[in-house]
Symmetry: C2
Subunit: 224 residues, 2 copies
């Protein structure tokens, strides 16, 4: 099977690709960027697996869902595989992103270089605080959240990051959905409801600390 078998990038047949696979593709992409900077031409599934603390079979299987990118006896071409990962993840383009809630977490996210590096361009900021509205934050004027629906449409926003207090998150999200946004990343610690055709992902930064806490208290077996 060669990569042309999957001529329509984006459909991937009827196969359901698991969340873990997608997350690992993100990691491969990042590591491939590093390898590229280190000047490597090719990388084997064994090398890549070692960097990611995975098995070589896992790496090959993940990639095999999307095509056949390697050369037997040699490995994978670093730069090309990086581009392939970007294309599969949809980060070989710019995304028009808005951020709602320019508080503690929100303002940090505006300056987060990794977002920009991967094509996520935060081009609109919203807040409900009169003191912030109209002011400039890292080159972007903060808009009034009261005009959220209208402004999201007007700016042709494709993704929204929510960093407001949990108490108001559902109201905000309802407006975001009304504006026709289909992809939302939520940092508020709340269980939010969206229609079935909207992708909602939650980022819970306490979760990993809690995992560490559990691991320490239970002296949980280290993986691998």
């Amino acid at each position: 099977m060669n990569s042309n078998t999957y001529s329509t990038v984006g459909s991937f047949g009827k196969k359901r690709i698991s969340e873990s696979t997608i997350h690992r593709l993100s990691r491969y992409y990042r590591t491939l960027s590093v390898l590229e900077k280190e000047g490597l031409q090719t990388v084997s599934s064994k090398d890549l697996a070692k960097r990611e603390k995975l098995t070589p079979a896992q790496v090959r299987k993940d990639l095999s869902f999307f095509g056949s990118f390697g050369t037997r006896g040699l490995g994978y071409p670093v730069t090309e595989l990086k581009h392939q990962m970007a294309s599969i993840l949809g980060i070989d383009r710019l995304w028009r992103v808005a951020l709602i809630g320019v508080g503690n977490i929100g303002s940090a996210l505006v300056g987060y270089k990794e977002f920009a590096r991967q094509g996520f361009n935060i081009i609109k900021l919203f807040d409900n605080d009169q003191r912030k509205i109209g002011s400039n934050h890292k080159g972007i004027t903060i808009s009034d959240v009261r005009n959220l629906e209208r402004d999201l449409k007007e700016a042709r926003i494709e993704m929204v990051i929510i960093a407001v207090p949990a108490t108001v998150a559902q109201y905000i999200i309802d407006d975001v959905v009304k504006a026709g946004i289909k992809a939302i990343l939520n940092f508020a610690p709340a269980n939010l409801k969206v229609p079935n055709d909207v992708f909602l992902r939650n980022e819970n930064m306490s979760m990993e600390l809690e995992y560490l806490s559990f691991a320490l208290v239970n002296n949980h077996a280290q993986k691998k």
Copy 2:
């Protein structure tokens, strides 16, 4: 089987508890806190599952790894179950946490209320920037990262959060390990190495945006 069967909280026999289960316990804990505020006395696995978008069986199975907390015909006592979750996760106590790298992300984390609410007390800050060292950030004086090992020991730090640039993260982590720290939460986009007895978790905030990007581009089937 009643909850006394597990008198030694923390051992849980030889059963290996999966990462997903632990993460769901975090979510249960948060939701139980909300339910408690709403004044609910009891909650059934069905109710809890609905809030978390899980199956009731999943909720019951997760809890059953740790004991038997419910009453048949009635459900689970909200407040008690919340305390049980806290105890299992090890967040029914205070953790002495240090944060290294008081930059964009780092300073946001210092003020992140959820950490404090769950017992994670950030009591030491470190940076390598002479302009920051000695200054006060939200009531904590920023220390020189050059004395990291000594200061971590002195302050009896138990967990470390790393929010430094990827290029220096490994050097920092080596010092953290030298100081005897066994739990590290890393925000730097890098694959870091630690000895086998150190718990390292990575927080990659781009990952979920990339998942959304993938979902949009591939019109990936929405889950359930």
